[in-house]
C-alpha cells in the first residue's frame, strides 16, 4: 500500500478530525489535509491535487453532496469516500447516484476505516497505473509519429489509419486512403510473392519485417523499411495490423549508386585482367607465329566445351579467361627452336616441351583465380589421356578437366588454321584425327561432346577468323 497518496478529509467536527488523525498517525498515513466545510475544501481542491477526498455528509456552509458535485465538474475521475450513518436511506441513494466510490459507516471504527482506505488506495494505484500507461502510450505514439510512417489496417488489409508522416511521404491524405487496400501503394516492380509472404506471416500472428518499394500518389517511388505487427485481443484473435515504416529511399538510392560504381570498378578490374591475360597469351603465341585470334578462339572453344562437360558457369568463365595463357611458357623457348621451319630434333623437342613447365612456374604463385587456373592449363594442356604426354605423363582423369579441354581446343584450332609455314587441315582430316586419338591423346567423353556439338565450335571459328 502506498501511504503517500494525498487525502483531503472534510469534517466540521474538530474532535472527529482529531480522532481520525490518531488512526492515520498510528497507521503511518501521511499527506492528509483536513478541512472544516465543503466550501473551504473546494478552495483547497482548486489549489492542490488530491488522490482521495473523504467527506462527511452534513456540514455547515456546503455539505458533502454539493462538494462532490463541484469537484466532479473539475475532475470527473476523482475518487471519493463518504462518511455516513445508515439512518437515512435517501441520503445514501443520493451518494450512490453521485458515484461515490467508498463508504465509511459511523461510528468510525479504526480497523474498518483502514480496511476501506486500503481498498481505496488499490483503486488509486490502478488509476495511476492506467494514467501512466496512457501517458507512456501517448509519448510512444508521439515519438513514433515523429520518426516513422504509421498505418493501421483491418483484418482484410484495408487501411483504417495513417499518421502525418505517412501522409507526407505517400502524398495521400487520411480521407483519400482510409478504407482503401494497401495495394494502392504497390510498386510495379514489387513481386506478388512478397505480399503473399507478408500475409502468410502476419495471418499466422507473427511479425513481418522487410524492405518494400511503394508508389506515392504522384507516381514517384519511395522505399520503406517496414515492420508489420498483428494486434491481438484477449482471446488471441487478430484485431488489426499496425505497420511501422522508415523511409529509406535516399539510403537505398545511395546504396544503388555505390553498387553501380562498385560493379563498374569490378568490371574494369576484370576487363583489365582479361586484357592482360589475352595480351600475355598473345605474346606467347606471337613468338611462335600464332595470331591473336588463336587465343580468342581457344578461349571460346574452352568455354563451350566446359559447359558441355557440365562445368559450372563460374568455372567455365574462369577457363575462358585462363585458357589463352596455355602457351605462355613459350616466351622462355629460344627463337631458333620455337620458330624452326623444319622438324625439331629430339633434343630440340625436349627443350620445346619445357614451355609447359615454364608457363606453370610463371603463374603458379599468383593468388588470383585466373592466373592460378592459367597455371593449370599451361602445365597440363600437353598431357595425354593415355599417359604419354608431357611434362608429367599423367593420365585419364588425373589430368585436370581444364587441361583436357584446352588440349582439344588448342589442337582443333592449330590444325584448322593456316600459318605462314603450313596450310590449314581440312575439317574432315581433323575430325578423323580426333576419332583416332579418342581415348589416346584426348579425353574420350570430351571428344564425343565436341563432335556432337561441332557446329558450335565452327561458329566460333568463323566468328574469329584470321585475316591472312
Amino acid at each position: 500500500m502506498n501511504k503517500l497518496y494525498t487525502i483531503l478529509y472534510v469534517e466540521d467536527e474538530k474532535s472527529i478530525q482529531d480522532f481520525v488523525s490518531v488512526i492515520f498517525k498510528k497507521n503511518n498515513i501521511k499527506n492528509v489535509t483536513f478541512s472544516a466545510n465543503g466550501q473551504e475544501a473546494l478552495h483547497l481542491y482548486k489549489e492542490e491535487k488530491f488522490d482521495l477526498v473523504i467527506t462527511d455528509m452534513f456540514m455547515p456552509i456546503m455539505d458533502g453532496f454539493k462538494l462532490i458535485q463541484e469537484i466532479k465538474i473539475l475532475n470527473p475521475k476523482q475518487i471519493f469516500m463518504m462518511v455516513t450513518g445508515l439512518e437515512n436511506k435517501d441520503d445514501l441513494i443520493k451518494a450512490i447516484e453521485l458515484r461515490v466510490n467508498f463508504f465509511i459507516e459511523k461510528p468510525i471504527k479504526p480497523k474498518k476505516i483502514m480496511s476501506v482506505l486500503n481498498e481505496s488506495f488499490d483503486l488509486i494505484a490502478q488509476k495511476k497505473e492506467s494514467e501512466l500507461a496512457r501517458l507512456l502510450l501517448s509519448q510512444y505514439k508521439h515519438s513514433i509519429d515523429n520518426t516513422a510512417l504509421v498505418s493501421k489496417a483491418d483484418t482484410q488489409g484495408n487501411i483504417t489509419y495513417i499518421n502525418t508522416k505517412f501522409e507526407e511521404i505517400s502524398q495521400y491524405t487520411q480521407e483519400e486512403i482510409v478504407g482503401k487496400n494497401h495495394r494502392i501503394l504497390k510498386h510495379k516492380e514489387m513481386p506478388d510473392k512478397v505480399f503473399k509472404d507478408i500475409w502468410k506471416t502476419i495471418s499466422a500472428k507473427k511479425i513481418w519485417s522487410g524492405v518494400i518499394t511503394n508508389t506515392a500518389k504522384d507516381g514517384s517511388t519511395y522505399i520503406v523499411d517496414s515492420t508489420i505487427i498483428p494486434l491481438l485481443d484477449l482471446n488471441n484473435n487478430i484485431i488489426e495490423y499496425i505497420s511501422i515504416r522508415h523511409d529509406i529511399t535516399e539510403l537505398e538510392l545511395y546504396k544503388n549508386s555505390l553498387q553501380k560504381q562498385l560493379d563498374l570498378a569490378v568490371s574494369e578490374v576484370i576487363d583489365t585482367q582479361k586484357e592482360v591475360v589475352y595480351t600475355m597469351g598473345a605474346i606467347g603465341e606471337t613468338r611462335s607465329k600464332e595470331t591473336g585470334n588463336h587465343v580468342k578462339r581457344v578461349a571460346n572453344y574452352s568455354y563451350i566445351l566446359a559447359k558441355l562437360a557440365g562445368v559450372s558457369e563460374a568455372n567455365a568463365q574462369l577457363l575462358k579467361l585462363a585458357s589463352p595463357m596455355h602457351d605462355i611458357g613459350k616466351v622462355g623457348i629460344p627463337d631458333n627452336i620455337l620458330n624452326k621451319p623444319g622438324k625439331l630434333t629430339p633434343d630440340e623437342f625436349e627443350i620445346m616441351k619445357e614451355h609447359a613447365y615454364l608457363g606453370y612456374e610463371m603463374l603458379k604463385s599468383s593468388s588470383r583465380d585466373i592466373l592460378k587456373t592459367s597455371a593449370i592449363v599451361a602445365y597440363e594442356h600437353h598431357e595425354r589421356w593415355d599417359g604419354k604426354g608431357y611434362p608429367r605423363a599423367i593420365e585419364g582423369e588425373n589430368i585436370h578437366i581444364f587441361g583436357r579441354i584446352t588440349a582439344i581446343c588448342d589442337v582443333f584450332d592449330a590444325l584448322g588454321s593456316t600459318r605462314c609455314y603450313k596450310k590449314a587441315w581440312p575439317l574432315e582430316k581433323i575430325l578423323h584425327l580426333f576419332q583416332k586419338e579418342k581415348a589416346k591423346q584426348f579425353d574420350p567423353n570430351l571428344i564425343t561432346l565436341f563432335l556432337a556439338n561441332l557446329d558450335k565450335f565452327l561458329k566460333i571459328q568463323s566468328q574469329f577468323k584470321d585475316n591472312i
Binding site: S15, I16, D18, P107
Partner: protein
C-alpha cells in the same frame, strides 16, 4: 453518571491513553458550541438546528464510545427530526450534565 474508563476506551480503540485524552478534550471543546446552539434551538423551537446539534455531538461521542451521550443525543435527534413536542430541556440538562461529568474527570 457512570464513571468513564478512558483506559478501557483506549484499549477498545487500540489508542494510547494520551490520544484518547486529546480526542476527549477536543470533543468537550466542540460540545460547548453545540450545547449553546441546542439550548437556543429549544427556546426557539428550531427543530432543524436542534437535530443537527444533537447529530454533531452524537457523531463525535459515538467514535470514542461515550454510549450514554450517544443514547440521549440520538433521542433528541430523532424527536427533533419528527418535530415531536417532548421535554427537550430535560434531555438537554441530562446531556449537559453528562458532558460536565466528563470535563471533571
Amino acid at each position: 453518571m457512570n464513571i468513564v474508563n478512558l483506559q478501557a476506551i483506549a484499549d477498545e480503540l487500540d489508542f494510547d491513553l494520551e490520544d484518547i485524552k486529546m480526542v476527549l478534550t477536543s470533543f468537550l471543546k466542540d460540545s460547548v458550541l453545540n450545547l449553546t446552539n441546542m439550548i437556543h434551538a429549544i427556546d426557539t423551537e428550531d427543530y432543524n438546528t436542534l437535530r443537527l446539534s444533537a447529530h454533531a455531538i452524537k457523531g463525535s461521542a459515538s467514535n470514542i464510545l461515550l454510549h450514554e451521550i450517544v443514547e440521549i443525543t440520538a433521542d433528541i435527534e430523532k424527536n427533533a427530526f419528527e418535530k415531536n413536542t417532548v421535554d427537550y430541556s430535560k434531555r438537554y440538562l441530562k446531556l449537559k450534565s453528562l458532558i460536565k461529568g466528563l470535563r471533571n474527570e
